[in-house]
Amino acid sequence: MKHYNKVTPEGTKDYIFDECSRKSHVTGNLKKIFQERGYRRVMTPAIEFYDVFGASADYLPQETMYKLMDHKGRLMVLCPDGTIPIARLTATRLLHMEMPLRLYYSHNVYRMANGLRGKSSEIYQCGAELIGSGSIRSDLEIMEMAASSLERISDGAGYRLELCHIGYFKALMESLGADEETQEEIRRNIEQKNFASLNDLLEQFPNNPAAAALKYLPRLFGGEEVFEQAYALFDDKNARESLDYLRNIYNSLQQLGLGDKVIIDLGLVNQAEYYTGIIFRGYFDAVGEPVLSGGRYDNLLNDFGTDLPAIGFAVNVDLASSIAEKHPPMTADVLVMAADDTYLVKTIQYRKQLIAKGQIVENCVLENREDAIGYAMRCGIAQVHIIGKTTEIIDVEQVNV
C-alpha cells in the first residue's frame, strides 16, 4: 500500500527555502526579544501523556488531539498547546527555582483542524511565560513584550493589540445569577458577537442591570471611550476593580506610545481557556486570524498541584511569517571546481579560505569546465573558480554563450 507515499497529511505542509527563512526570521526576532528580557528557553517533548491535557477538555476538545499509544498501552498525544507543558514542567521539576520564572519555548503544536478549511494542523508557536507573580508589574512586563513582539515581527505592516479583563464579564455573570448552561450560552453568544440570540437569551432576565450590560458587552470594543461606557453600564465593586485595573494597563501602554495600536474588547470571552485576568490578542492587517494570543492563567498550575499565578502569550509563527518580508533566494557567490581529481584537497582548502572571508561557496561536483559554467549561469552564481596548478577566475556574465 503506497497510496500516501508522495503527499503530506492534510493540515501539514513542506516549507521550502524562502518559507523556512521567513519562519526563522520571525522566530529569531522573537527569541531575541525574549532573551533580552531575561527569558530562558525550555524544550518540552512533542509527545506527552494524554493526562497532561485531560483536565483541559473544555478548551482542548479531545477530538482535536492526535493520539498515539506507547508500548504499555498508555494514551499519548502530540503536544496540542505550549502553555500546559510549561505548567507541568514548572509544577514538577522547576519548583525549587527562584520565583518568578521567565521561560520561553519555540516548537510545533498539533491540533487536528477540520478538513478542507484552509487551516493547519501543525502550528509553529513561539511563546513566553512569566510564572510566580500575579502583580500588575508582571502583567505590564508581558504586555510590553507582546507589543514589542508584534512591532518587530510585523515588519512595518499594521498591527493591533487587543485587551480584555475577564473580571468584568465574570462580575456581570455573578450578578446575573443564571444557571451554568445559560451562562455558557451567554458566553458563547458574546464571544461570537451574536447580538440577536444574546438579546433573546437575556429577555428572561427583565429589569436586571447585569443582563442589560451583557446585552451591550459585544459592542464594548474600541479605544478609551469603552471604559466610560463600561463604567456607566454596570456599577459593582468587582466590575469596577477589573476596569480600573485594565485602564491602568491601557494607560501605561499609551504612555509607551502605542496609541491606537491598543484596543479594548470587553467581549473577548474565549471558551473558558485557562485565563483568569487580563486576556489579549494581536492582529496583523491582512491576516484573518489572531497572530498572537495570551493572558493571565492563575489556576492552571493548580491542575498540577501547585498554586502559582502566571501570565504568558504565544505567537503563531506560521501566520506571522505569512506577511514577513520575502527573503531573496539564496545563491552562492562562487562555484569552486577542481581542474582534475589531483586538486581535490587543494580545492577544499581554497574553498575554506573563501568561506572564512564571508562568501557563500559551492563545491562543484561536475567534472567538465563547460558544464560547470552552464550550471553557474542557470543558478545565478557570479563566478566560477577553477583550481589547478593556478587558479582561474571566470566571471560568468562575461562568458559568451
Binding site: 461570537q192 451574536n194 440577536a196 459585544p218 484573518g288
Partner: protein
C-alpha cells in the same frame, strides 16, 4: 484603502440581500448586471461584492479574504466556524424540522432510527441533545425520497411552506429550530476596520428594524 469585501449567498438569499444594500443607498447596478463576473464593485462606496455558495461565504469570511458575509443560519449551523454573527437579517426565514411519513410514531419500538438529511451535523447535534443514537444518511438532493423509498425512518430538512412534504405524504412532527439570514464578520476585520464595519452594521440593524416594523 482596500475596499470592504462582502460575500453574499447566491440563490435564495441573493435578491433580498441586494434589496437590502440598495435600500441602504448602495448602488448595486454592477451586482444586478453581473454577467459572468464574480467580484462586483459598488460604485458609490468603497465596497466589493462577491457572490458565492452558502458554505463558501463562511469559508471566505473565516479566512479573512472577505470582511463580511450574508449567509443562512442553516449553513452556519451545519458548517460551523469562527467568526462574529452580528445581525439577524430577518429575511430568508424558514425552519429545520423533523418530518416522517404520516401516521407513523417516530418513538415507537426499540430499533435505531435512520434519518436522511443534507444537514448531517445539524441532525447529529439534535439527536445528541436528545441522547438518541441514530443512523444518519447523507442525501444531496430531494431528501423526501429517502423515507418514501424505505431508506430512512424520517428526514431532517429545511421547511419553508411544507408543500413538498405534504405532496409526498410526509408531516412535520418536530421543529428543530428556526433559521434566517445572518450578517457575519471576520474577527480580525472587526478589530482592524472597526469604524467602517460598525457604521455598516448600525445601518443594517436600522434597516432590519424598519422592515420588522412594516410587517407589524
Amino acid at each position: 484603502m482596500k475596499p470592504i469585501r462582502i460575500a453574499l449567498t447566491k440563490g435564495r438569499l441573493e435578491e433580498k440581500s441586494i434589496e437590502m444594500f440598495e435600500a441602504l443607498g448602495y448602488d448595486c447596478s454592477e451586482v444586478r448586471n453581473k454577467g459572468r463576473r464574480l467580484v462586483l464593485p459598488i460604485k458609490n462606496a468603497n465596497i466589493e461584492i462577491i457572490l458565492a455558495k452558502a458554505a463558501d461565504v463562511i469559508t471566505y469570511v473565516e479566512n479573512g479574504v472577505c470582511d463580511l458575509g450574508v449567509v443562512g443560519k442553516d449553513t452556519i449551523m451545519e458548517t460551523g466556524g469562527t467568526f462574529y454573527e452580528v445581525v439577524d437579517l430577518g429575511f430568508g426565514r424558514c425552519k429545520f424540522a423533523l418530518a416522517l411519513p404520516e401516521g407513523v410514531d417516530f418513538y415507537a419500538g426499540y430499533h435505531t432510527r435512520c434519518i436522511a438529511s443534507k444537514y448531517v451535523n445539524v441532525t447529529r447535534n439534535y439527536f445528541e441533545k436528545k441522547n438518541m443514537d441514530v443512523d444518519i444518511v447523507k442525501i444531496e438532493g430531494s431528501v423526501e425520497l429517502a423515507p418514501i423509498l424505505g431508506l430512512s425512518d424520517a428526514i431532517v430538512d429545511i421547511v419553508e411552506t411544507g408543500t413538498t412534504l405534504k405532496e409526498n405524504g410526509l408531516v412535520v412532527t418536530e421543529d428543530v429550530c428556526q433559521v434566517s439570514a445572518r450578517l457575519i464578520v471576520n474577527i480580525a476585520s472587526m478589530k482592524l476596520r472597526k469604524a467602517e464595519i460598525e457604521e455598516l452594521i448600525v445601518k443594517i440593524e436600522r434597516y432590519v428594524q424598519e422592515q420588522e416594523a412594516q410587517k407589524i
